[in-house]
Structure formats: C-alpha cells, structure tokens
C-alpha cells in the first residue's frame, strides 16, 4: 500500500549536500504496524515526511494507495494529507493560540469536515484529556501535548498514522499510553509507521525496519 522506490533525498547546505536518504526502496502493507528503527540522523524523519506527502524526494517515487504523491499538484497533495494522513511529531506542533479541542478539530476542518466538537470531546475523554479541553498548549505537560496531537491525528480518521519519535520527549508512563493508543488504531485496521531510536516500540510492531545513514537494512 505504501511503496517507496529508489527514494533519495539530499539537503543543500552551505557545507555541501547532505544526503539524508539514499536509494530507499521499501513497501508497507495496508494495516501493518511498521517500526522504523535507527540512530539519530539516520534519515527516519526524512523518510516519514516523504511518505506523508510533506517533502519532495530528490529522486525516486513514493506511492500511497496507488497514488504517486509527488506527481500530484500541491493542492491535491494537501487534500491527500487532510484525508489520508495522521502525523504525530516529536515536537508535538500544536497551534499555540488554539485550545486542545480547537487543535483537535483543526485537521478535520482542513478535510472539509466542520463541527464535530462532541466527537472531539469523546476522543479527548478516551485519551484522558477531558479536563484539559479548554487549555492552551502552553498550559499542558509534554504527555498531554502528545496525547492532544494523537487526538488530532486520530480525529481525522486517517488511513495511515505516521509517528515521528512520538515518545521521544515523554516519560515511561506517558510513552506507554501513547503507544497504546497507536496500537488501538492499528488493531482497528489502521496502518502505522513509527520512527524511533529506542527499543520500546518494537513489541507493538508487525515488522521492524532498521535504518542507518540514509539506507534501509532489513
């Protein structure tokens, strides 16, 4: 369902090009829970971003559900992200001036679905955030921020959730809770690709893909 073929990505910098991905060819099945494991700087974030239709690879193609992402128009890619992708960032990336509920429904609005704050509240309850619905991100703990981000990703009913070190800034309990929610999503038929440099996530994985220096070593 997700197919990367010969994907390379290099970033131009003042010191010359940095090749973050080198000829990555990889496919993931629908409903699979894949853990991308590799040290920092091995290209995990770059790979997730290309799958999320958020970053043009330098060469190669990324196909998700028959759609060649980087041959679509920018507008179509945005629509694709809105409808298909849930992304969880290591740095949470919540909108600072919106409260928790507003952050959660923001993505659904991009997909053209409006309202839904009742469902959003139910989801927040499930994630243990019901008391936090009207708090700003700056008033939340890291764990609460990440659960808000998960709520935002789930709320859109995506086909795929891409999670970039979602537990990287969390303590043990919060990390377990976050992984639990991703696992629930997977149990209900969702595809999950999770990047990590630790071991913790591997127990949830159908498959672990190891990365180093921009290459996949399965």
């Amino acid at each position: 369902m997700v197919v990367l073929e010969g994907v390379s990505k290099s970033y131009p910098t003042a010191q010359g090009k940095v090749e973050a991905l080198h000829e990555v060819t990889l496919s993931m099945e629908k409903g699979e829970f894949v853990v991308l494991c590799g040290p920092s700087g091995s290209g995990k974030t770059t790979l997730l971003m290309t799958v999320a239709a958020m970053l043009h690879p330098t060469t190669g193609s990324v196909t998700v559900g028959q759609r060649n992402l980087y041959q679509m128009s920018s507008r179509a890619r945005a629509k694709f992200r809105a409808e298909r992708i849930g992304f969880i960032f290591q740095m949470f990336h919540l909108v600072p001036y919106l409260n928790v509920v507003e952050n959660v429904v923001l993505g659904a609005q991009a997909a053209g679905r409006s309202g839904g704050s009742v469902q959003a509240r139910q989801l927040l309850e499930r994630l243990g955030l019901d008391g936090r619905a009207h708090h700003r991100p700056s008033q939340l703990s890291a764990g609460e921020k990440q659960r808000t981000a998960i709520a935002r990703a789930l709320f859109n009913r995506p086909k795929i959730i891409l999670a970039d070190e979602p537990t990287g800034n969390l303590d043990g309990d919060n990390a377990t809770s976050v992984l639990g929610h991703l696992s629930d999503f997977h149990r209900n038929g969702g595809t999950v690709v999770l990047a990590t440099h630790g071991e913790r996530a591997e127990q949830y994985a159908d498959r672990v893909v190891y990365m180093s220096e921009g290459e996949v070593r399965s």
Binding site: T46, M49, A52, M54, L55, H56, S74, R75, A78, K79, F80, R81, A82, E83, I85, F87, F89, H93, L94, V95, P96, Y97, L98, E102, V105, L106, G107, Q109, A110, A111, R152
Partner: protein
C-alpha cells in the same frame, strides 16, 4: 472555527505584533487624514472668502489704456463677446463665475451714469455654481441708488434710453461705490444703444486660487489666460487671497515631501512586521499545511489578519487624524473659521479601503513565500 475566529485568536495571542502593526497604519492614515481634512477646510474657507469679496479677476482687451482703466474703472477698448465662451470652455482653469459686461459712461437726463450691459453669468461646463449676480431680462433696467435718487425713479417706471424703452425693474440699495451710478440692462440692449454689436469691454471672474501650482498666482493666471486669449490682459484684485494661496502652497509643498516619506516608512514598518510575523508563524504555517490546509487557505488567514489590522488602523487613524486637523489645522493653514473644518467622509471611505489593501499586500508576499515550501521544510525552521 471560521477564518475570522482563527484570525482573532492569533491576534489576541500576539497582541504586541498586532498593536505595532495597527500603530503603523494609524500613523500613516492619521497624517494623511489630518492634512487633507485641514487642507480641504482651508480651501473651502478661501473659496468662501473669495466669493465674499466678489469678482477678483478683470479681463480686458489688450489695447485698453491701462492708466485710463485704473483711474476710471472703465476699459476704453472692446473685445468680441465670444471671448467669454472661450474662457469658460478652456480646460484646467481655476476661475469660475464668468460675467461679461459692456460699460460706458453716458449722460442720461442730465446725469452722468455708467451704462452697463450684463450677460448672464457663465460657469465652465461641469462646474455650474449658483450665479453671484442677477441676470437682467431684456426690457428691464436696474437703476443704481444715486441715479434713482437724482432722478426720482422708482420700480415700475417706464423710461427710455436713446430711444429704447425700459421698465425700471429694480432700484438698487446704496453701495457706496460705482454701482450707485450705474444703469444696468441686458448686454444685447446695451450693445444696441452704444452701437457696439457683439462687443464687450470687460469679463469678470472669480479665481479660487485652488489650482495654483507654485509661483505668483497672478503671473500663472496671466500665462493661463494668455494661452486662451492672446488678445486680452488680466488684472487680479490682489488681496489676502494671494497670501493665503501662498501659505497653502507652502504647506502643500511640505506635504509633497513629508507624505511620501511617511507612507514609505509606514509601508516598510508594516512589511517588516509582516515578515517578522510570518517568521514567528513558520511553525503554524507548517502545521496547517501538514494538516492539509491548501496554500490559499493559509494565505487567507494572513490576508484576514492584514484586513483586520488595516480596518482598525484606518478607523483609528481617521479619528485621530480628524482630531489633529481640528486641533492644529487652524494654526498651520491659517484657518479662521474653526467651524469650516469638518470630518471628510470621502477620506474615511478611502482609508477604510486602501489601508487594508495596503496591509494585505505587505503581509501577503512573505506569507506566500512561506507556503511555497514543503510543509516539512517549513516545520524544520526553528
């Protein structure tokens, strides 16, 4: 959440940025409004003063004996009456209320009078104003105070001048000037009586000094009229009007320098704020785009913000600018009648339209640049 909702929440979140941006707009708009409100008031006052003073331009035939003219107030030479039309229909002129007369000293019933034929007052096309002087129908005679006294004339009397029959339509009130010894009738009849068909010897007009571009108003006017009527010469009643015109000219020149600098400075200021705002909001742009908001929807957020800033700035700027005009206008523009300063609603409309557009343009560009990048790139920027 509507766009407006998001815009307002962001404004509230970054209050200082918002206030600084509004301040920039307020400064530009207030300067503009203050200047124009006071300037307009000054123009209105000048125009009113000029009208109060009556005709201040005298246009006479080229060969008129100037000594004679200045001594007696009468021009001894005539010119064709078509000159009136020529003057009235010329483009880009600053005078109005054109009145053609034919005047000549005659002795009537043993009294020295000035027979004055009046053509109806003419205004240039598109600049019609209520006439400043009556127009006299054929067969009617308006008798000056002195003549009426000397000859015991009263309204309704039938008289004749050189064989032409008239009815005294009006005996005029005492003026203390030459008007007291005038017999005024229709131009056509005066021409017949004096045997000067199609001739006039003076055109009076009111020059508002509104369009004076710099330099001495009289010489400009002479040049202007000289182009239209090479066969005429121009006298202007020099008055405080000239000083006023110069005064206003000076302020206007000053303004020509200050205003562009203020607009440029405020434009840069808003632009820099917008760039800073976009930099602050890289993350947010990245998030919105990552969530699947199209570039246009992100752009709308920034435009919406700019429009709110522009509207706030325009309204506040208008109020402050009008206040400044009331407070400082009289000093700077030498306006004597404070009441003549009034809020200029046309300017309000203009600022409410242009300020948001201006603010939108200056914040639109940095926002548009930001959305052209892949969301991942935007999110990377810290």
């Amino acid at each position: 959440m509507t766009v407006l909702n998001l815009v307002v929440k962001e404004l509230w979140h970054r209050k200082v940025n918002f206030l600084l941006a509004v301040l920039a707009v307020v400064t530009a708009v207030a300067m503009f409004i203050a200047f124009f409100t006071a300037g307009k008031a000054s123009e209105r006052e000048t125009a009113r003063l000029m009208l109060d003073m009556g005709y201040n331009l005298r246009i006479i035939a080229k060969d008129t004996d100037i000594n004679q003219f200045l001594l007696t107030g009468l021009a001894n030479e005539t010119m064709p009456e078509e000159y009136l039309e020529k003057l009235a229909s010329a483009k880009g002129i600053s005078y109005n209320h054109l009145l053609a007369t034919l005047q000549k000293r005659i002795t009537w019933r043993g009294v020295d009078v000035v027979l004055t034929g009046l053509a109806p007052e003419v205004c240039p096309p598109g600049r019609a104003k209520p006439p400043m002087i009556y127009s006299i129908k054929p067969g009617e005679l308006y008798v000056g105070y002195g003549v009426a006294q000397a000859l015991g004339l009263k309204e309704g009397d039938a008289v004749d001048i050189e064989g032409k029959a008239f009815t005294v339509a009006k005996c005029l009130a005492e003026s203390g000037g030459v008007d007291d010894v005038r017999l005024q009738c229709n131009l056509r009849e005066a021409q017949e009586i004096l045997g000067l068909p199609g001739q006039i010897n003076e055109i009076n007009a009111v020059d508002c000094l509104c369009f004076v571009e710099g330099g001495d108003p009289v010489s400009i006017l002479r040049k202007q009229i000289g182009l239209i009527l090479p066969e005429a010469q121009v006298y202007q009643a020099k008055a405080m009007a000239t000083t006023r015109a110069k005064q206003r000219q000076m302020v206007r020149n000053l303004f020509a320098v200050i205003m562009p600098s203020v607009v440029i400075a405020c434009g840069l200021w808003i632009g820099i704020l917008a760039i800073m705002n976009v930099r602050d909001r890289q993350q947010e742009i990245g998030i919105m785009r990552a969530l699947g908001y199209g570039s246009s929807r992100v752009a709308v957020l920034f435009l919406g913000k700019a429009v709110v800033i522009g509207l706030f700035g325009a309204i506040l700027g208008f109020l402050i600018g009008t206040g400044l005009a009331f407070r400082f206008g009289p000093d700077i523009f030498k306006i004597t009648a404070q009441t003549i300063i009034k809020p200029e609603l046309a300017l309000f409309v203009r600022s409410v339209v242009f300020a948001p557009v201006f603010a939108a343009i200056s914040s639109f560009i940095p926002a548009m640049i930001a959305v052209t990048y892949d969301p991942a790139v935007t999110l990377r920027e810290e």
